[in-house]
Every structure is written in structure tokens, then in C-alpha cells.
């Protein structure tokens, strides 16, 4: 596996109320790795991300981020430690402009110091967002809004990005665009944990992939190998 990972989830058990959703999952993300976490509806993948960013606390097991175990952190504290979460449903500021959304991504004092440089870098990565800088974020198309969400997370200057179903609700063409954008971000050396239902796309862009079923890992390995695995071909790729 990975030595000195940016994130390691160690035998974590998670749930809501009395319902156990994740039953002992371990995974790790290396410092320049694009790692996929795939599985069907209700497999527990979003729940794992919510625990990583401090929205919920694990019942058992631990999560280590950047060498330090996290203890009942809240989301804004995890952002302070360098974790950028691109959440499900994007969670933009719809009545603020695209530019304001991006600048808010660097709201924390540490990020604010490098804000202009970060903005230049992010707008070079997403030229379309520079063109739509003055538009209200809520008026953009779904694909563009997803780009804003990714760009806003990048503005933090994070040590790790976690993305929750960025392709959700997008047309196949836009899914390709968003995945290409994620690959561009990963090529800058940014570690990413990408949660998706769209297995085919994840296997195409990621280095390694974990497959989750009913709260348990059933398969993991290099994405190229998994793409040829009989179980994946049968269950997820319909081949």
C-alpha cells in the first residue's frame, strides 16, 4: 500500500442512529495519488467522506489526516488543517458571483495570503470560470457549477481533496468534461479521493480504486487491473 499517506482510514465503523452503514473499512490515499472509491447506492461511500471531513464521528476505528488522528473535528476545522471537500450537490453560494465563490474558497487567513496566485492558477485550469467571473453561480449550468465547486476547493490550497459524486446529475458529455478537469487537477500533484457511482469513469482516471459493497470493501487495486477484473466487468461495466 502507500507509505506515509496523506489520509488513512483505519477499520472505521460508521452509522446513523442505530443503523450501521460502514462496517470496518480501511483505506489510504498517497501524497500524489488519485484514488477512487466506488460502489452502489447506500454502499456507504458518502458516509466515509462525511466522516473524513468531520460532519459525523466514527463509532469505531480512526481516521488519520496528514499524520495526525482526527478527534471529533468539525468541517471548518478540517478545512483549516488542509482538507478540501467538494460536497455532494456542490453547495455553492448561488447568489454570489463565480469570482466571489472562488475567493471565499480562500477565506481562511492562511489561504488568503496566497489568494491572488491561487486565483490565477485556478482560472488557468478552468478558463471558462474566468469568462463567467461576474455571473451569479446559481445561473451556471450543472457542469459549470461542478467546476466552480472543484475550483473553490482548490482555492484553499489543500493537502487533499475529497470529492463526493461530482458527476451526479450531469449529462454524459459533461461527466467527461468534469472527469477531465479532475484529471488535470490530479496531474498538478494534488492527492484526491474521488467517490463515484460512475465506475467506468473512475477506473479511467484514477491510479487505484476501492470497491465498496454494503459497507464493506470487496475489492481494491490499481484501476487498470480492476478494469479487467471479472467481477467489475460483470457488476459495474455490464460486460
Amino acid at each position: 500500500m502507500t507509505a506515509d499517506p496523506i489520509l488513512s482510514v483505519e477499520d472505521v465503523v460508521l452509522g446513523y442512529g442505530s443503523l450501521e452503514v460502514v462496517s470496518g473499512v480501511s483505506l489510504a490515499v498517497g501524497r500524489a495519488e488519485l484514488v477512487g472509491l466506488v460502489g452502489g447506492n447506500g454502499s456507504g461511500k458518502s458516509t466515509i467522506l462525511r466522516a473524513v471531513s468531520g460532519m459525523i464521528t466514527p463509532w469505531r476505528g480512526r481516521i488519520v489526516f496528514d499524520g495526525e488522528p482526527m478527534t471529533a473535528a468539525r468541517p471548518h476545522q478540517m478545512a483549516r488543517r488542509g482538507l478540501a471537500h467538494v460536497p455532494m450537490g456542490r453547495q455553492l453560494f448561488p447568489n454570489l458571483t463565480v469570482r466571489e465563490n472562488l475567493l471565499l474558497g480562500a477565506w481562511l487567513p492562511a489561504a488568503r495570503a496566497a489568494r491572488d496566485a491561487a486565483l490565477a492558477r485556478v482560472e488557468a485550469l478552468f478558463p471558462e470560470l474566468a469568462r463567467r467571473a461576474g455571473a451569479r453561480a446559481g445561473t451556471l449550468s450543472g457542469g459549470q457549477q461542478q467546476m466552480v465547486a472543484i475550483a473553490r476547493a482548490l482555492m484553499l490550497g489543500p493537502k487533499l481533496m475529497i470529492m463526493d459524486e461530482p458527476s451526479l446529475g450531469l449529462s454524459p458529455l459533461l461527466v467527461k468534461e468534469v472527469m477531465a478537469a479532475i484529471r488535470r487537477v490530479a496531474e498538478t500533484g494534488m492527492p484526491i479521493l474521488l467517490v463515484e457511482q460512475n465506475v467506468k469513469q473512475v477506473l479511467a482516471v484514477s491510479h487505484r480504486t476501492y470497491v465498496l459493497e454494503n459497507g464493506r470493501l470487496v475489492l481494491d487495486g490499481p484501476s487498470q487491473e480492476l478494469a479487467g477484473h471479472p467481477m467489475i466487468r460483470k457488476a459495474y461495466l455490464g460486460l
Binding site: P94, W107, A137
Partner: protein, 294 residues
């Protein structure tokens, strides 16, 4: 005096009075916009501001506006404290919990004043109480002009805070999307405390500007101001500073014109009639807009 001079004079009075109403409404709309809590104690904080001015005048001989030096920070801290001690504890409870909690705070404030100060109406006489300024035959009272200036300063200050400072950007982000704000590193619980502090502070400032114009009474007056704040925000359209200003001015002008041309004892009723008419024909408010959410 000719008819049009009287009309102009009424309009001037209505606009200036409306400015103070706007100030009352802005605090309510700010708290609602960020916290999604309707603060039933808002009017009682206005009354608290009036009594603060009475107190500082009686003890120290302060002009009401001088008492702002103390009332503004104390109002802000009181609001933050109320949020921390009461509202923060029920932030994840159903919305009616916050509603009932603020209603309880309203009762506590009103009755605490009644117990300590007593029920008799109080006011502060200022040296310039009967001074008027004449512009082209239109006489405007100095007290109203000063109140209008104070309102403009307070609202301009709030606008600058929201749009020109980092904490203001964090407040607007939290109002737009709380989870999104938390994920970029904003401590939204701290923002809630700050916003409730600001709302309370604005109510207190409004109370201080009103004391040379109105007599303060402990218990019913808070509810009257809360109602006015509702009318202002709904007239304009809930959730923005600009809409609250417009709503306040509409309310002030309607009240003054009604009192002057119809019957003055129904002054409060004209504002409520306008409120009902607008709810009937433009439920989103005069200047409200329906916004597409992401």
C-alpha cells in the same frame, strides 16, 4: 400653508420615520437571512435600547446619541450571549423551538424592565426637541433629521461590513449555504453568534434614535416593534438590506399620510392595511424576487 407644502412635509416626516423603521427591520431580516430564525424578541431589544438611553440620561445626563457609545457594544455582546446560551443549544432542533425561545426572551425582557423600572412611560427630552429646520417652507423637526442621519450611518455601516470585510463575506456565505461555508473553513456557529449580536445591536440603536420621539413602556411595546419589523421586511421582501430600507420607508410614509389625511388615531392600522394589501397582491414583497437555488 398650501396643500402641496403640507404634502411635502408629510412625505419628509414619513421618509425619516420610515428610516428608523427600516433600521428596526434590517436587524430582523439579517438574523432571519443567516440563521433562518424569526426573532420574536427583536422589538424588545428596541425597547431595551430606549431604556438604555433613559438610564444613561438619568444617571449620567447623557444625550441619547452619546449613550450609543455604551449601548452599541453592550447590545452586541448581549445578542452574542443570548445566541450562545439559548439559540446555539437548539440549532438542530425543529424551527419552532427557536421561535418559542425568542418569544420567551421577549417576555423576560419586557417583564424584567417592568419589575426594575416600573410601568410608567419614560422618555428623554433633548435640547433640540422643538427645533425645526425649514427648507423651502417645509419644516422638518431636528429630532427626526438626526434620527434619519443616524439611520443612514447605521445602515451604511452594516452594508460596508457585509460587502467590504472578510467577516462580512463569511456572513453572506453562511446565509447562502451553511454547509458550503463550513467546508471552506468558516466557523458558522461563530457567525451565528456574531449575526445575532449585530441584529440586537441594530435594534438597540433603533431604540436609542426613537427615545426623543416616543415614550418607552415595558411590555407591549416590544411586540409592537416586532410587528413593525415584520411589516417592514415583508413589505420590502424578506432577506435583503435594500428591501428592508424600501419597506421601512413605505411603512413610514403610509403611516404619516394616513394619520394626516384620514384619522390620526388609526396611525398603526394604515401600515397594517398596506401590509395586508401587499401580501394579497405581491406576496414576495414589493422588491422581493424569487431566487433560483442551486
Amino acid at each position: 400653508m398650501t396643500d402641496w407644502v403640507i404634502l411635502l412635509q408629510n412625505l419628509a416626516n414619513g421618509v425619516l420615520m420610515g428610516g428608523v423603521y427600516a433600521l428596526v427591520g434590517v436587524g430582523l431580516t439579517l438574523v432571519f437571512g443567516v440563521m433562518r430564525t424569526i426573532n420574536f424578541a427583536h422589538g424588545d431589544f428596541v425597547v431595551l435600547g430606549m431604556y438604555a438611553a433613559v438610564l444613561f440620561n438619568a444617571l449620567l445626563g447623557f444625550d441619547p446619541y452619546l449613550s450609543l457609545v455604551i449601548a452599541v457594544p453592550v447590545g452586541f455582546l448581549t445578542g452574542m450571549l443570548v445566541e450562545r446560551l439559548v439559540l446555539a443549544r437548539i440549532v438542530d432542533a425543529p424551527p419552532e423551538s427557536a421561535l418559542l425561545a425568542t418569544l420567551g426572551i421577549s417576555l423576560i425582557i419586557g417583564n424584567a424592565i417592568l419589575l426594575t423600572v416600573g410601568g410608567e412611560p419614560r422618555s428623554v427630552q433633548v435640547a433640540y426637541a422643538s427645533t425645526t429646520i425649514s427648507i423651502g417652507g417645509v419644516h422638518v423637526s431636528m429630532v427626526l433629521l438626526v434620527a434619519g442621519a443616524a439611520t443612514v450611518a447605521a445602515i451604511a455601516g452594516l452594508y460596508a461590513l457585509l460587502h467590504r470585510t472578510e467577516i462580512g463575506r463569511a456572513i453572506r456565505a453562511t446565509a447562502e449555504n451553511r454547509l458550503g461555508a463550513e467546508l471552506v473553513g468558516i466557523d458558522t456557529r461563530a457567525i451565528h453568534a456574531i449575526v445575532f449580536g449585530l441584529g440586537t445591536m441594530l435594534a438597540v440603536v433603533a431604540g436609542v434614535t426613537l427615545i426623543p420621539l416616543l415614550f418607552a413602556t415595558p411590555t407591549n411595546m416590544g411586540a409592537v416593534f416586532t410587528l413593525k419589523a415584520f411589516v417592514v421586511t415583508v413589505l420590502g421582501g424578506l432577506g435583503s438590506v435594500g428591501a428592508a430600507i424600501a419597506g421601512g420607508i413605505v411603512l413610514g410614509v403610509v403611516e404619516v399620510l394616513g394619520a394626516s389625511y384620514l384619522a390620526s388615531e388609526y396611525r398603526e392600522a394604515y401600515g397594517l392595511a398596506a401590509f395586508l394589501l401587499i401580501l394579497l397582491f405581491r406576496p414576495e414583497g414589493l422588491f422581493g424576487r424569487t431566487v433560483k437555488r442551486v
